[in-house]
Symmetry: C2
């Protein structure tokens, strides 16, 4: 019965400015989440807290211990703000930092300790993960996006609901959200998928969609929806139709 919700960094932060949080949006998202917090894993993007320092230090291509340290420190601060807002909204939650519990190889998750997450869910505590830097066995430095976390956790926890909130209405074609996307649709829409606004080192909408198509290939459908519109997070958590549904092949 596990559900996974991602809130994009573009909602929680101003992605064009260094470490600029949006406290009102963090609070609103926390309150919507608090309406149905049971059996939920929350993943949030790093926003400007991650993408800007990562780019400054040349991550993930360049191995930079200082870059890893600084970027992690920044995203951990955003994570603290999210946890605090959730706490104030009455949600029992604990942080789970990807840097501490997973390793990558060539940018993909190679090992991931799920024990703490499973145990938290069992005890009614919401694990809160975030896009993060991580150790990469092939390159040294790595970045694990919130979207990759969602896709990995969706499979590993056999999630029933996977909802990915971003700052657009879904997968857009000519400015309109597509109700449904399957892998077979990818060639036709690929060229119109842009990056996200501001600095993004993890692939924007195309990266997001590829992660969710991977998940769909394993039989787990998901939603891409506009988490910036009030009430949508609540609707997505109830399993209502918002945004674009990503499904496996028919």
């Amino acid at each position: 019965m596990t559900r996974i919700l991602k809130i994009g960094g573009s909602i929680l932060t101003d992605k064009s400015r260094d470490m600029a949080a949006r406290p009102d949006e963090i609070r609103r998202a926390a309150e919507e989440i608090a309406s149905r917090p049971q059996d939920l894993v929350l993943v949030h993007g790093a926003g400007s807290f991650g993408h800007i320092p990562a780019r400054r230090f040349g991550l993930p291509e360049k191995f930079s211990p200082e870059g890893l340290m600084t970027t992690h420190d920044c995203v951990a601060r955003l994570n603290e703000m999210v946890l605090q807002a959730l706490g104030e909204a009455g949600v029992a939650c604990l942080p789970v930092h990807p840097l501490s519990c997973l390793t990558l190889r060539e940018g993909r998750i190679e090992s991931f300790q799920l024990g703490p997450i499973k145990e938290m869910l069992k005890r009614g505590i919401m694990p809160v993960l975030h896009g993060d830097v991580a150790m990469d066995a092939s390159r040294g430095s790595g970045i694990v996006s919130g979207d990759q976390l969602v896709s990995y956790l969706g499979k590993a926890l056999f999630a029933e609901v996977v909802a990915v909130g971003c700052n657009v209405k879904g997968v857009l074609l000519f400015g309109q959200p597509l109700p449904l996307v399957r892998r077979s649709d990818l060639p036709a829409i690929e060229s119109s998928l842009g990056g996200s606004g501001g600095v993004d080192v993890t692939g924007g909408m195309k990266g997001k969609l590829l992660e969710l198509l991977d998940l769909a290939d394993c039989g787990i459908s998901s939603l891409i929806f506009d988490a910036g519109r009030e009430g949508n997070i609540r609707r997505a958590l109830l399993g209502e139709k918002v945004g674009t549904r990503v499904e496996g092949s028919a």
Copy 2:
């Protein structure tokens, strides 16, 4: 060639007062560590940042999501101070939070993701762990002491040097440090082993010694030394004799 150093919370904090760091001692410890940072895993105690909130919420006996959250938040703050001091002393380091990467069962480590720690060591980055709260599969809430982390990591990483710095000269008998302790000595000295000063929820000197005797049973000797005396951390890292040596049976 891995070495493990623990710096007790009694050195880095005033254990009698809530969240009272000792910035000068944190800086001094960081500078001594910076003299030989290679292949080193650092574990620090939680001091008053952990023991006082843990006791307030009745951890680990009582299951308290709020207690877990508050206590973790406090010890993570101390960890930030330690990382910052190490960074200023020129050490490349990254935090590894036990809450994110291990689970307990009846207070003992049941699963522990070592991938990030091993990868950091391989890349010349010092992993910095700390006494923390953790999810316990049998009780819900758990506490993992820095001493248990040292013992577990000593075995798992086949450590060559294990040095545990505290605020006394070693294992004391009538106020004098014993040069050597083996398990067979335990009955004779047990009654004179006190707790540590201030609030301590993880067992003080007796808890420390039991962890290190476990490690000694696996053939890995360790040192308990006074990390409050200037130069001792440096000496311990060089493998010089300071404090009490804990060894397996002769």
